[in-house]
Amino acid sequence: MIKYLLKKEFKQILRNSFLPRMIFIFPFMVLMVFPWAASYEIKNLNLSVIDNDHSTYSQQLIQKIISSNYFKLTDVSPNYNKALKSIERNQSDIIIEIPANFEKNLVNRQGGKVMISANAVNGMKGGIGMTYLNSIVMDFNAGIIHDLMPAAQIPSATPTIEIDTQYRFNPHLNYRVFMVPALMVMILTLLCGFLPAISIVFEKERGTMEQINVSPVPKSTFILAKLIPFWIIGFIVISIGFLIAWAVYGLIPAGHFSTIYLFAAIYILTVSGLGIVISNYASTLQQAMFIVFFFMMLFIMLSGLYTPIDSMPEWAKWIAAFNPLKHFMVVMRSVYLKGSNPLQLMNDLLALIGFALFFNIWAVLSYKKKS
């Protein structure tokens, strides 16, 4: 019986004018375009300069800031209000103001002062810009002491602690290495979550559900026949993902492909199961889509895709623990970057199996043959 049902499902998908195209184009679009967009890296901060001193030292300081790779001089203003205007118009991100008599005070040992104002609407960006600028000024300080002070008076070396930093798993701090595996998870989630949610409601709206309901098809067989096509689609999609990651970004998992396939197999069942549960309860396509959309957004935002789970408040971490997407995201990144194996990912494996069972049993139970 399942054979005929599967035949029906596949025909329904393949003869749809829109779905097969979508299944192939979507992963390409997402993986070719978005990894380039997804980066927090802050460089080329736009700098606005107010130099009220016009002295050698103020010029030197400004030169030093511009010649660092972090800042781009976009605005020179005569006063603070003008500079603030350029921040308001988003033409600059950070202002450095050098007061009059800057050089005089500095040489006279009264201490030079500079004012730094950063646009902190995006707190992280403002903070980083401020620290960059701060450290350049510190550097400049270290330079002028040799300039101005008689060598004998320079304080003897203080004890120094040398720090060297090593970045494991992603030594070049390449953000794409981090995002590409995660985006594959997203594609899988969106395709294998949205499509099953549509499929049953679609039959309800069309009235073809009636025919299934009066047929002798057992509930579990019907659900299984709905699941298997998406399972296969999922495998195709993730394989396309592997290919693109390798061809475009030169990314090959440090771990084993079989690990990913194993987890993907369980994960697809989980999201498809959820999709089917939703479509069992929804009576119109619109309802189903909105509910799926709601869950997808929750899953995505609380998955650690964009913002680290560790920084979330305690209660959000609890929600994240019940988020299948989060577990699969961790798995993908660990396998791709750290080369983890299923034993090391046991917790996520068990969690995903649990979710898969839960949603699919629920899917079978909530499917009612009565309308």
Binding site: V121, G126, V137, I319
Partner: protein, 346 residues
């Protein structure tokens, strides 16, 4: 019902949970020789809000498993006889090994750790004897405490409004096509523009309610103030709602099944809006081609306008460019929808 509830839950969850700040990063330390210097540094690290020292390890071979099992994100390796070396030779060595799977977090927390170590070094040196110092005075504009919600609320607002509005209207016309009721509308003496406008109106009202709840929540629950004029914020938002609804209608006139309409407006819009609107990732750092692409994402302009009005406290005059672009986009979309609106059945 779900349409009203959804934005509420989303804005609260995301407003509180989304933050790129690095907090409570787990640290493991490898200390060959315990002495006052190492314990002082470890105490300082542990005391900061950024770090929790969770493990002490004894050999370098333990580092890899610690990262594998995600027990710690940062390992600090002290040199042996740390304090002694520091006293005798004036030099000692610390190695910071970071789990750089997340490059952004890794750079932030290694930076914080280096700062803490540097502050210990300064403690050792005593008051600095350099009289020729430039002291920067720092001011963080608009968001002095650097709260993440100030950045995320406008973003989430832009995303939720666009997606919900577009999804609502995207099936409006295609549904009539599928149901066969389109025929009745077409034989009626109504002009397409009236059909389109009357399709939008109920959703427009609903979206305004959504906007109002989101605003109330962000001001009273998330404590994001409206620094600028509330009226300009409302004007821009109404324009944006209208635009999003028109976008949905455009999808609706272009597709011929509810399924396709929903998939395009739900899945097709979700990723571009999330990634290219500047909501999460700064647009300025993207490759130039993507920056152009982001220019056609309406959410980008709206989010920028909301940030200007709500957070920076500027008036409507400073967001004229955004308003002009959003209006232009709405006109284009309504125009295309009208053009594509077939008055004949196939």
């Amino acid at each position: 019902m779900i349409l009203l509830l959804m934005p509420i839950i989303q804005i609260i969850l995301f407003g509180f949970a989304l933050t790129t700040e690095v907090k409570n990063t787990e640290v493991a330390v490898l200390v060959p020789t315990n002495d006052d210097a190492t314990s002082r540094i470890i105490d300082k690290i542990n005391a900061s809000a950024y770090f929790d020292v969770v493990a002490k390890i004894h050999t370098t071979s333990e580092i890899q498993p610690i990262f594998r099992d995600a027990k710690a994100k940062l390992v600090m390796v002290f040199e042996d006889h740390f304090a002694e070396r520091l006293r005798e030779t004036g030099k000692a060595h610390i190695q910071l090994i970071a789990d750089a799977t997340d490059p952004n977090a890794a750079t932030s927390f290694t930076f914080y750790a280096s700062n803490i170590i540097a502050s210990y070094q300064q403690e050792l040196a005593g008051p600095v004897a350099n009289p020729y110092q430039i002291v920067p005075e720092v001011k963080m504009l608009y968001n002095p405490q650097m709260i993440g919600a100030f950045n995320f609320v406008p973003g989430v607002l832009g995303m939720i409004m666009l997606l919900i509005c577009a999804m609502m209207t995207s099936i409006a016309i295609v549904r009539e096509k599928e149901m066969g009721t389109m025929e009745i509308l077409l034989v009626s003496p109504m002009k397409p523009i009236y059909i389109i406008l009357s399709k939008i109106t109920p959703y427009f009202v609903l979206s305004c309610v959504n906007f109002a709840t989101i605003m109330l929540l962000s001001v009273f629950v998330l404590k994001v103030p409206i620094a600028g004029s509330f009226i300009s914020l409302v004007v821009v938002s109404l324009l944006y709602i209208f635009l999003s609804l028109s976008l949905g209608l455009l999808v609706s006139t272009m597709t011929d099944s509810q399924q396709a309409a929903m998939l395009i407006s739900g899945m097709g819009l979700m990723l571009p809006v999330m990634l290219l609107s500047g909501m999460i990732f700064p647009v300025e750092n993207m490759p130039i081609a993507l920056q152009w692409l982001s220019d056609i994402v309406p959410a980008k302009w709206y989010i920028s306008a909301v940030k200007s009005i709500m957070i920076k406290g500027l008036g409507i005059s400073s967001v004229l460019k955004e308003v002009a672009i959003l209006s232009f986009m709405s006109i284009v979309m309504i125009g295309i929808s009208l053009k594509k609106f077939k008055i004949r059945l196939e």
